[in-house]
C-alpha cells in the first residue's frame, strides 16, 4: 500500500505532497525533511529503495526533482518505482515536456492527475489517455 507521494527538489523544498494515511499537518514538515534527507544522502549507484522506520521509501530522481513514495513492506517496490515513471510520463504528455515550474504553476492539475492514478493508497489507473481524460475535458469546458 502507498502511504504518501512527495515531490521534493534538491534543496529539500516540498513541491507536492499527497498523503493516503492521515498524518497531522504539524508533523508533515518534519517527516518530509527527514525523508528527503534519507534520499538525498544516497549515491546514484545505490538502491532506489530505502528502509525508513517501519516502512519503505521508493524514490526516483528527475534532474533536480525527487519523487518519493512511501510504501508498506508488503508492496512490490519495483512496480512502484515504475509507477513513478509512468506518472512522470503522463505529466510529460500533458504539459508536453514537463518542467519543475510546470508542476509549481499547475499544482492543482498535477494533483488532479495524481488523484486519477492513486486512490486510498492503491493504484487505480495506469492507462495514460484515461488518466488524462477527465482533466482534458475540464480544460476544454473552461476554455469553451
Amino acid at each position: 500500500m502507498i502511504k504518501f507521494v512527495l515531490m521534493v527538489n534538491r534543496q529539500g523544498q516540498t513541491r507536492l505532497s499527497r498523503y493516503y494515511q492521515p498524518v497531522e499537518l504539524s508533523r508533515r514538515a518534519a517527516l518530509e525533511a527527514d525523508v528527503v534527507r534519507c534520499c538525498l544522502t544516497r549515491k546514484k549507484d545505490q538502491c532506489s529503495f530505502v528502509e525508513y522506520k517501519d516502512f519503505k521509501l521508493v524514490y526516483r530522481q528527475y534532474a533536480a526533482l525527487y519523487i518519493v513514495v512511501g510504501v508498506t513492506d508488503t508492496e512490490n517496490e519495483l512496480s512502484i518505482y515504475e509507477l513513478v515513471h509512468n506518472f512522470v510520463e503522463v505529466l510529460d504528455k500533458y504539459f508536453s515536456r514537463v518542467s519543475e515550474l510546470d508542476i509549481m504553476f499547475n499544482l492543482d492539475r498535477v494533483h488532479i492527475i495524481l488523484d486519477e492514478m492513486i486512490q486510498n493508497g492503491h493504484i487505480v489507473e495506469t492507462n495514460k489517455s484515461r488518466i488524462l481524460a477527465p482533466l482534458t475535458a475540464l480544460d476544454k469546458m473552461a476554455d469553451g
Binding site: 523544498q13 516540498t14 499527497r18 504539524s26 514538515a29 518530509e32 549507484d45 545505490q46 538502491c47 532506489s48 529503495f49 530505502v50 528502509e51 522506520k53 517501519d54 528527475y62 534532474a63 533536480a64 526533482l65 512490490n76 517496490e77 519495483l78 512496480s79 518505482y81 515504475e82 509507477l83 515513471h85 512522470v88 510520463e89 510529460d92 514537463v98 518542467s99 519543475e100 515550474l101 510546470d102 508542476i103 509549481m104 504553476f105 499547475n106 499544482l107 492543482d108 494533483h111 488532479i112 488523484d115 486519477e116 486512490q119 486510498n120 492503491h122 487505480v124 489507473e125 495506469t126 492507462n127 495514460k128 484515461r130 481524460a133 477527465p134 475535458a137 475540464l138 469546458m141 473552461a142
Partner: protein
C-alpha cells in the same frame, strides 16, 4: 521517452532563474500565485519562508472572506492555500471556503474545490458533512464531468454515516453507459467497503457484474474490492478462480487495447494485482492451485523482456508460485528466475531478488544454498539496505548449526547501526534466535548481554521478561540449570565491576534480579561483595527509580544470607524517606524483612522458582470485604463500559478523561506488574514466574511451530549429543574474559568460524559453509548438516485433512440411519400415497406405526393431530424445523396433513403440550429394536424438547438411560421419574427443558441413549438434534419508558442494514410485522420512520431492537446484555426477511 524527460528536467536549474518560462505561460507572471511561487523559489532560509507564508496567509484570509471575490479568484486562492499547507502552515480558515467552491464553482473551479477539500480535511472532519449535499447534487447532474468529480471525491473520503444517503445513486451509476462513470462508481463502492463493509453487503452480485464488465478499466477497478474481500475470506471466492485466470491469460496474451501497455508490456499493474489475488486463492488449496499453473507458467515465459516492469511482474509471479500448492517444474522455473534477480548487476533487482529469496526460503531453505556466494557478497555490500535485506534472509534460514555465525553478523550490523527502528527490530530477532538455537550456556548469556546493552531501553519489553522466565523456569537437569545461572551470575558480577554506568536501565534491572535470585549459587562469592556492587548502582545519578526498586528487591533477597544486615539497614534508611512511593515501599520491605528471618523465608523462599504460583484471579479473598462494603451501603460494582455509557447517556458532565483513564491506568498497572518487582514479591517469592509472564512468553514463541526449539519451557535442550561430541568444554571459571569465551563458543558449537586467511575467496567459502550449515543434506559445502524439518505448509496440509476426516466421522455418527430400499417399498405399499413425501423414515418406526398406529389412534386422534400440525404450519411456518434446519413453508398445509408417523407419536404428547406450537417430529436414529424421534414444543416461558423412544422389537427394552448434553444449552430433565423400561411395541416419552447458556445462530443437543435388551450386552446409540435460536425467542412486553432505561444499560450491540419489504403496506410496518410473526418479537412502538422492538431469549435475557428507515434500507441496531445475542438475532432477521 524517459531519456527525453530526464533531459528536459536536467535543463531546469537554468530555467529557474529566467523570468519567462514556457511552463508559466498560462499564468500571467504578475498574478498573486505567480508571485507566491517566485517567492518560494527564491527562499534561502526557514525564517524567510515563515515570513513569506505568514504574509501570504494573511492576504488569502482577507480575500476569501470578501464578498466580491469571484469563483475564479477563489480557485486561485485555494491553490495558494494548498501551497501554504503543503509547506506545513495551517490554513484552516480556508476549509469552509473550499467546500463553498465545490458547491458553487463551475467545472475546473469546482474540481479545485473538491481537490482542496480532499487535501485539507481528514475523513473524520465534521465539515465534511457540509459536502454531502453538494455531492448528492453533482451525482444527479446531467453533466458527466460533475458526476465524475463527485464520484472521485466520494472514493477518496466520505462520512461513514452518510453513505446510505448516496448509496442508491452510486449503485445506479454502475449501469451507466460511460466506462469512466462505471469505473468511478466501482471505486466509490470500494471506498464504502473499506469504511463500512456492512453497508455494501447487499450488492456483492453487482461487484461480480463489474468484474465481468466489457471495459477492462471497470474490471480492473473491481479487482480492488475482490483483493480486499479475498484477503478477509479466501474460501468465499474460490469459484472466481477460473475467471481471474482467464482475465490474466487474456492480459498476458496481449488482448487488451494498446493504450493499456506500459513500455509495450500489457497492463503490468493489472497483472500484478491478479497475481496477488491468485496467490491468496491458491494458498493451501491444491485443486484451486491446479487451475492456475498454466497461466503462471505463461506469465513467467512472457515476462522475459529486459525491463524493470517485467521484473516487477516476475517477482509477483515467483511469490505466487511459492505461496500456492507447489508444482515442481514451476518451482524450478521460479527458482531460476530468482537466480537472475540476485545475480543481476542492477542493484534494484538484486534487492528485489533478496526479498524474493527471503520469502521463498521459508518454503524451501535449500534454495539459499544455490545462491550462498551471492548472499555472502551482499552481506558485505556497501549499501546498507542490501545488507539489511540479507540479514533478514539469514534470519529465516537460521538453524542450530549456523546460529553463531548468523547472530555474529547481525550483532556486527547492530553495532554500526544508528537507526532506532532497525535496532529494535534486529535486537528482537537476535533474542529470538538465541532462545531458539543457542548452542551453549556461555554463548547464550553473552549474546543476551549484547542484546541488552545494544537494545537498551528501546527494545521490546518482552525480551528481558522471557529471558528471566527462561532462567527461572529451569531445565530438564538440575545441573544444566545451575550452570546457566552460575554463568549469568559470573558474567553480571564482572559487568558490574566494570563500568555499570554505561549499561541501559533494562539491563541493570535484569542484572539485579539475577543477582538477587541466584548469586548464592556461587559459593565463593560473598553476599557483601554483591551487596556493594548493587549499592553502587543505587548511588549512580543516571539510575532510574524503577531500576532502584529492582535493586532494593535484589538486596532484600540477599539479606537472607545474613551477613549484610548492616548495609541493608543503611540503604533502607536512605530510601525509607524517598519521595517515590514505590521506592519507599521497597525500602520498608527491605528493612522489615532483614529483621524478621521467618517472615522473609515465607515471603521470599529460596529456590522456589519451579513451584507453581497460585493466583486467585477471581479475587475471592476480597469477598468478605465486598459484602461488608455492600452492607454498609456501597454501590455494587459495574464494569467500566457500563459506567461510561450510563454517564454519557445521563447527559452528565462530559467525564471522558476519567472514563478513559480507567482502562489506561489498569493496563499501565499490569505492565508495572511485569516490570517492577513490587507486586511479584508481595504475592509470591518467585518474581520471575507469575502467570503474567508465562502469557508473555507464549506470545513470543507463537511463530515457531515447525521449527525445532532448543530453548524452551523445558530449557536448553540443544543437541546434547553434538555438544558432548565436541571437545569437552569444562565448566567455565567465574571470571573468564570475553575473548576466551568466544574461543570456547567456537569449539563448543562445532562451527568453523572464519579464520583470517590470505585468500579472501577462501574466507568467503568458509563463511558460506558456516552460514549455510544444516540447510541441505546433499550439499557439497556442508555435508554434516542435517536438513530442516519439512516445510510447514505440507505439515499444515496434513493436519487439515486429518481434522476434516474427523469431522466427517462425527457427522456420520449423528446422521439418521438411511432407510433401505425395501423399507421404502414396504412403506409405499402399506401406507399408500399419504406417505410418499416422507422418505426418511426408518424401518423401526414404520413397524411401530404398522402395529400400533392405525389400530390405536384411528379417528379422533388422527384429526386432532392433523389440526395441531396444520395450525402450526399455517401460523408460523418458520417454526417447523427439520434436523437440517428450516423446512420451507408449505403453501397448502391443510390439504396435506402431516405424516402419519407424526400423528402417532404426537398422540403421545401430554395434553398440556399437544395444544402448543411445536416443531415437526423428526426421527433421530433407529435400529432394529429401538427408534428415537424428537420435537420441540414452544411453551410461553420455556422450550421443551420431547424425545420419543419407540420400542419396535418383540421384547421389552430395559434400563433405558437417556443422556443429553449441549455446548450452548442448559438441559434439564422435566419428568420426575424417567421411564426406564419400554414394553414391546410401545412408545415412551422423555421431556427436557432447554435454556440457552451461550447464544449461537443454531444450537445443538447431542445425546446418547443406552439400553439393555433381554438378550445380549448393553447397547448405546448416539444422536444429535439441531434447532435454531429463534425457538428460544419470546416477545418481551415493555413500555416505551422501560425500553428506554433498558436500552441504556445494555452493553453488547450490533448494527446492520436490512432490506425493507414493500408489498402494499407502509414498508416499515410491513417489515416489522413479518419479523414479529416469524421471530416472535414484540413491537413496542412505531413512531414515524422509527420502530422499537423487544424480545427475550429464554429465560429473561432481553434483547432490544431499534429500527430506522434510511432511503430504502432499514437500519437496525440491536442491544442486549448477552454477548453474541444481537449478532445471532440479526442473522435470523435477515433470514426471515429473505424468506418472505
Amino acid at each position: 521517452m524517459s531519456d527525453v524527460v530526464e533531459k528536459t528536467l536536467t535543463a531546469l536549474p537554468s530555467l529557474l532563474s529566467l523570468d519567462s518560462q514556457p511552463g508559466s505561460a498560462k499564468l500571467s507572471s504578475t498574478s498573486k500565485l505567480g508571485n507566491l511561487i517566485r517567492g518560494i523559489t527564491e527562499l534561502t532560509s526557514k525564517h524567510e519562508e515563515e515570513k513569506l507564508i505568514q504574509r501570504e496567509l494573511a492576504s488569502i484570509k482577507e480575500q476569501v472572506s470578501s464578498p466580491n471575490t469571484s469563483m475564479r479568484q477563489m480557485k486561485e486562492l485555494m491553490v495558494r492555500a494548498i501551497y501554504c499547507e503543503s509547506l506545513g502552515y495551517e490554513a484552516s480558515f480556508s476549509y469552509i471556503h473550499a467546500i463553498k467552491l465545490a458547491q458553487q464553482g463551475t467545472v475546473l473551479e469546482k474540481r479545485v474545490g473538491y481537490l482542496a477539500v480532499s487535501l485539507f480535511l481528514n475523513e473524520s472532519h465534521e465539515l465534511l458533512l457540509l459536502l454531502v449535499n453538494t455531492v448528492l447534487k453533482d451525482l444527479q447532474s446531467t453533466n458527466l464531468i460533475e458526476v465524475c468529480m463527485a464520484l472521485t471525491v466520494v472514493s477518496q473520503m466520505f462520512p461513514k454515516d452518510m453513505i446510505p444517503a448516496i448509496l442508491p445513486l452510486v449503485e445506479e451509476k454502475l449501469n451507466h453507459p460511460k466506462e469512466i462513470i462505471r469505473r468511478k462508481a466501482v471505486l466509490a463502492l470500494y471506498k464504502f467497503y473499506l469504511i463500512a463493509p456492512n453497508q455494501v453487503q447487499h450488492i456483492h452480485n453487482k461487484f461480480r457484474k463489474a468484474l465481468c464488465d466489457k471495459d477492462p478499466g471497470v474490471m480492473t477497478a473491481s479487482l480492488h474490492i475482490y483483493l480486499q474481500m479475498i484477503q478477509e475470506n479466501p474460501e468465499g471466492y474460490k469459484d472466481l478462480t477460473a475467471s481471474f485466470v482467464t482475465i490474466l491469460k487474456q492480459v498476458v496474451g496481449g488482448k487488451l487495447p494498446m493504450d493499456f501497455n506500459y513500455h509495450s508490456v500489457p497492463a503490468p499493474w493489472l497483472q500484478i494485482q491478479l497475481l496477488r489475488i491468485l496467490s491468496l486463492l491458491g494458498k493451501n488449496d491444491q485443486s484451486t492451485s491446479e487451475i492456475m499453473y498454466e497461466v503462471l507458467d505463461e506469465s513467467l515465459r512472457r515476462a522475459e523482456m529486459n525491463h524493470n516492469i517485467t521484473y516487477a511482474i516476475l517477482y509477483e509471479c515467483v511469490k505466487c508460485i511459492y505461496t500456492i500448492h507447489p508444482k515442481s517444474d514451476l518451482l524450478e522455473k521460479a527458482a531460476k528466475c530468482i537466480g537472475n534477480f540476485v545475480l543481476s548487476p542492477k542493484i534494484n533487482l538484486k534487492y528485489l531478488g533478496l526479498k524474493a529469496l527471503t520469502y521463498v526460503v521459508q518454503q524451501d531453505p535449500k534454495l539459499a544454498l544455490q545462491h550462498q556466494m551471492t548472499i555472502i557478497e551482499c552481506l558485505d555490500h556497501p549499501d546498507l539496505i542490501i545488507k539489511r535485506e540479507t540479514l533478514e534472509l539469514l534470519f529465516r534460514i537460521t538453524n542450530a548449526q549456523n546460529v553463531t555465525v548468523i547472530v555474529e553478523k547481525m550483532l556486527e550490523f547492530l553495532h554500526s547501526n544508528t537507526d532506532d527502528y532497525t535496532t529494535i527490530d534486529l535486537v528482537g530477532k537476535v533474542a529470538e534466535l538465541a532462545e531458539k538455537y543457542a548452542p551453549g550456556n556461555e554463548w547464550f548469556i553473552e549474546t543476551m548481554n549484547t542484546v541488552f546493552s545494544v537494545g537498551g531501553d528501546m527494545m521490546q519489553p518482552d525480551i528481558p521478561n522471557s529471558f528471566l522466565k527462561l532462567l527461572s523456569e529451569g531445565f530438564d537437569t538440575v545441573e544444566e540449570d545451575r550452570k546457566l545461572r552460575l554463568f549469568a551470575v559470573d558474567s553480571y558480577v564482572s559487568l558490574l565491576q566494570g563500568e555499570p554506568g554505561k549499561l541501559p536501565q533494562r539491563f541493570l534491572q535484569v542484572i539485579s534480579w539475577v543477582l538477587g535470585e541466584y548469586s548464592h549459587l556461587r559459593e565463593e562469592l560473598e553476599p557483601a561483595t554483591v551487596m556493594r556492587l548493587l549499592a553502587k548502582l543505587l548511588d549512580m545519578k543516571q539510575t532510574s527509580s524503577e531500576t532502584k526498586s529492582w535493586v532494593l528487591l535484589a538486596m532484600t533477597k540477599l539479606v537472607r544470607a545474613g551477613q549484610v544486615f548492616q548495609s541493608a539497614q543503611e540503604v533502607s534508611e536512605t530510601y525509607g524517606s524517598s519521595m517515590d512511593t514505590v521506592l519507599r515501599q521497597r525500602a520498608q520491605e527491605l528493612q522489615h524483612l532483614s529483621q524478621d528471618c521467618e517472615l522473609r523465608a515465607r515471603v521470599l523462599p529460596q529456590d522456589a522458582g519451579l513451584e507453581p504460583l497460585e493466583v486467585d484471579s477471581s479475587l475471592s479473598f476480597l469477598d468478605g470485604f465486598v459484602s461488608e462494603a455492600l452492607a454498609a451501603g456501597a454501590a455494587p460494582y459495574k464494569p467500566p463500559h457500563q459506567r461510561q455509557e450510563e454517564l454519557a447517556q445521563a447527559k452528565a458532565l462530559s467525564l471522558e478523561p476519567y472514563g478513559l483513564s480507567l482502562p489506561i491506568s489498569m493496563s499501565s498497572c499490569s505492565i508495572a506488574d511485569r516490570q517492577s518487582p513490587t507486586l511479584l514479591s508481595m504475592s509470591s517469592g518467585l518474581s520471575g514466574d507469575s502467570t503474567d509472564l508465562s502469557h508473555k512468553g507464549s506470545s513470543t514463541t507463537l511463530k515457531l511451530d515447525g521449527v525445532k526449539r532448543v530453548w524452551g519451557r523445558e530449557g536448553y535442550l540443544a543437541q546434547r549429543e553434538a555438544v558432548e561430541e565436541a571437545a569437552q568444554v569444562e565448566v567455565p571459571s567465574p571470571l573468564r574474559s570475553p575473548s576466551q569465551q568466544a574461543e570456547a563458543d567456537s569449539s563448543h558449537s562445532q562451527t568453523p568460524t572464519p579464520t583470517p586467511t590470505p585468500e579472501p575467496d577462501q574466507e568467503k567459502q568458509q563463511l558460506a559453509s558456516s552460514l549455510f550449515f544444516g540447510l541441505s543434506s546433499q550439499s557439497s559445502v556442508c555435508l554434516m548438516g542435517k536438513s530442516e524439518p519439512t516445510p510447514q505448509r505440507f505439515r499444515r496440509k496434513a493436519k487439515g485433512q486429518a481434522s476434516s476426516s474427523g469431522a466427517a466421522e462425527q457427522i456420520s455418527n449423528s446422521l439418521v440411519s438411511a432407510p433401505s430400499a425395501v423399507d421404502n417399498f414396504l412403506c409405499n405399499n402399506l401406507l399408500d400415497s399419504n406417505i410418499t413425501s416422507q422418505v426418511g423414515i426408518s424401518s423401526s418406526e414404520q413397524t411401530s406405526e404398522l402395529s400400533q398406529g392405525p389400530a390405536t389412534t384411528n379417528g379422533t386422534c388422527d384429526t386432532e393431530a392433523e389440526s395441531t400440525d396444520g395450525d402450526i404450519k399455517g401460523s408460523n411456518p418458520s417454526l417447523i424445523i427439520g434436523d437440517n434446519g428450516l423446512v420451507a413453508a408449505d403453501p397448502t398445509p391443510h390439504k396435506d396433513p402431516g405424516s402419519p408417523k407424526d400423528f402417532c407419536l404426537s398422540s403421545h404428547l401430554p395434553a398440556e403440550l399437544s395444544e402448543l406450537c411445536r416443531s415437526e417430529i423428526t426421527p433421530l436414529c433407529s435400529n432394529q429394536s429401538l427408534g428415537l424421534s424428537a420435537c420441540h414444543v414452544h411453551k410461553e416461558d420455556s422450550l421443551v424438547l420431547v424425545v420419543f423412544i419407540t420400542n419396535s422389537s418383540d421384547a421389552a427394552i430395559r434400563q433405558i438411560l437417556l443422556d443429553l448434553d449441549s455446548e450452548q444449552l442448559q438441559v434439564s430433565c422435566v419428568s420426575d421419574s424417567p421411564v426406564e423400561d419400554v414394553t414391546s411395541h410401545s412408545v415412551a416419552m422423555h421431556q427436557f427443558s432447554l435454556t440457552v447458556k451461550r447464544p449461537s445462530v443454531h444450537v445443538e443437543v447431542v445425546g446418547m441413549v443406552s439400553y439393555q435388551l433381554p438378550v445380549g450386552t448393553p447397547q448405546e446409540v448416539q444422536f444429535s438434534y439441531k434447532l435454531p435460536l429463534t425457538s428460544f425467542i419470546r416477545p418481551l412486553t415493555v413500555s416505551t419508558e422501560e425500553y428506554g432505561t433498558m436500552w441504556l444499560s445494555f452493553s453488547h450491540d450490533t448494527k446492520q442494514n436490512l432490506t425493507l419489504i414493500s408489498d402494499g403496506e407502509e414498508p416499515l410496518t410491513a417489515t416489522l410485522n413479518v419479523l414479529k410473526e416469524k421471530l416472535q418479537l414484540h413491537i413496542v412502538e412505531i413512531i414515524g420512520m422509527e420502530g422499537i422492538i423487544a424480545c427475550q431469549l429464554l429465560r429473561d435475557q432481553p434483547c432490544l431492537m431499534h429500527c430506522r428507515v434510511h432511503a430504502d434500507v432499514l437500519a437496525v441496531w440491536l442491544r442486549s446484555p448477552v454477548p453474541d445475542l444481537p449478532d445471532c438475532l440479526i442473522y435470523h432477521c435477515q433470514r426471515a426477511l429473505q424468506e418472505h
